[in-house]
Amino acid sequence: MIRSEVIKSLLPVLSGHFVVCNIGLPSQELHMMGDQPTNFYMLGTMGLSSSIGLGVALAQKQKVISIDGDGSVLTNFGTLPTIANNVADNFVLFIVDNGSYGSTGDQPTYAGKKTSLAAVAKACGCENVVECQAKDAAKTLQAALDSNKMTVIVCKCESGNIKVPVITMDPVTIRDRFMGELKARNA
């Protein structure tokens, strides 16, 4: 399974949940296959999906899922100790680990070589770290949401991309509808 198939398999679990989605193809795939007002698409700023998601989770009570990538986590490695030391049990970091920088042409990442993101997350102090295979992505994410414990999921999958249109929605619209849903849900 490649990332777009993993994201497709997650759609029933993501439905109705607040999702912060990584820049580039992950956001474009999620937007094409399962757009909903509770999705926040990153149009820029590689690496910050986990930081934005943690910020949303710490600020309010709704569950938040950050969809991230191995390359993006490597870009913002400092995020893992911050997550570990600021526990938000309404937060799940879902890392699609395809061992490559998919949006830029599938150049290999170190996560696809010697570096284990799950081991790094554990070493940083994250208490609930699960590594799963692509076929188990949906049930692993569902279990993490049901556990009400902050969880880091590293989902191993194959490298590869499908053709997807870019997101033309205005960033302020993306932000505004996300915040509107969040405000309504917390009211």
């Binding site: 820029g44 930081s51 934005i52 910020g55 710490l58 995020t79 960033p171 932000r175 915040m179 969040l182």
Partner: protein, 165 residues
Amino acid sequence: MSISKKLVDDMVNNGISFVTTVPCKQLGGVIEEVDKHPDIYHIPSNKEDEGMGLCAGAFMGGKRSAIIMQNTALGVTVNTLATLIQYYRMPLPMLISYRGELGEPVACQVEMAVHTKAILAQLNIPTYHFHDAADSEEFDKILKYTFMCNKPVAILTDASFWKGY
């Protein structure tokens, strides 16, 4: 009242309840006040762009946020300021120590000081420079301005303002 306490009180009085910090010797007193204030969730970050991501998230989650950082790191935040904070129109007060100004003992700090205002100007970020203690009187208005216009706003605080290092 110490200047550090006054600045943090102004933040709280403007509804700021989520503050991320990256340490600077000059800002030690402010960071201490942030850390002990019961109405602020203090989340130290490992890098300034990470901190801005946390602030962006907290803002969307309904909390007013702010970042406290050193000017030497401004360069690494340019992409985040342009493609996250400004692109999505988010307010972000940036309380920044302005290292490399008069009184600076470390020569290398000057190398980023000479670029600090130029980078902020290039990004069209409203910038205020606190040099005398009395300049902090404007902080409350600057915060109100930030949340009025939904922009990142920089407040540079130099060594003269902090009465040395």
